[in-house]
Symmetry: C2
Subunit: 185 residues, 2 copies
């Protein structure tokens, strides 16, 4: 597992990803913007001419809930980001409630997997949907996580089904704010 990497999601007039639409699933939406640039931690070559419409800083980290067999099942099926045919992306910034963060580790784990089957549901959409989780609660951002997904246009309906199944779980009852940003390149 590589060391954590910090990235900055910059929405504005520039970037390789076109923002096709933005929906507030729960809570307040994000401002309108045309394009998204993801600045890697070590990349200081990017400077937007104008201030971004919005920006979120977040990092990859160690796994917080996965057990060994689950990790092996994911690893045997998942594919990396950046596949040429995966021209669709979804960015889901999520904030969970204080009640969620007040739960001890083992109870959060129980809700996520034993009761909501979050990992198990995700497996059903591999390898079509590639995924990376970023954390941002510890940085004082208005969201706790950003999940980034990439898939081919043909997998769009399957991806919507994945989200619908996750949003119907007990885990999602703790989601206080969720914005669904859809992109293409």
């Amino acid at each position: 597992m590589p060391r954590p990497v910090t990235v900055r999601f910059l929405a504005g007039g520039e970037g390789p990803w076109r923002i096709d639409h933005v929906v507030a699933v729960t809570g307040v939406c994000l401002p309108v913007a045309r394009r998204l640039f993801i600045v890697d931690g070590d990349d200081d070559g990017f400077a937007e001419r104008d201030p971004p419409a919005w920006a979120i800083t977040a990092f990859t980290s160690n796994e917080r809930y996965l057990q060994r067999a689950e990790r092996a099942a994911l690893a045997s099926r998942q594919e990396p980001l950046g596949r040429p045919q995966a021209t669709c992306a979804a960015m889901l910034p999520i904030r969970k409630s204080d009640a969620w963060w007040d739960l001890p580790q083992d109870e959060r784990r129980s809700i996520i997997e034993e009761r909501s089957r979050h990992i198990r549901i995700g497996l059903d959409y591999l390898p079509a949907v590639a995924r990376r989780l970023y954390h941002c609660r510890d940085l004082g951002e208005p969201f706790d996580f950003v999940t980034w997904f990439e898939f081919a246009p043909v997998a769009s309906a399957a991806f919507d089904e994945l989200l619908a199944r996750l949003r119907a779980t007990e885990e999602w009852s703790y989601v206080q704010r969720e914005v669904d940003v859809r992109l293409s390149r």
Copy 2:
């Protein structure tokens, strides 16, 4: 549980804590400095005249391993930082190995508590020793954690015993770098 707070540990010529001695327990030591200033995330009133001898940025976060009964046991005995009689402090920056971070969540938990009794050992030194854990691996720091301890001079021997017991555990076999900074005010 409050939202995470980011602090900056600045070692140099200024600050309320005098650095009495610094020992490299494992790996490379930190440079010599006279005093320590802990800058709170929201405190921009501090600007050292000279560049710090060393600086570490770290944040408090949600609990990563505690179960509900353990949290209750800690809460019933622990006391806050900042007690007037607690004029001794210890700052322990620690980095664990890649092998540690490659372990899945449940195996890290097993090593920490079921096999090393980290939480159970800590309980034996409450309320004499007050403690706060900061995380910094996700920020790209050369350490993964900083643990900050405060205690009265009379508890110094007990504190040394606590560290000796922790350093004898299986968990500590994953510690790749540890610096022991002792301070007083």
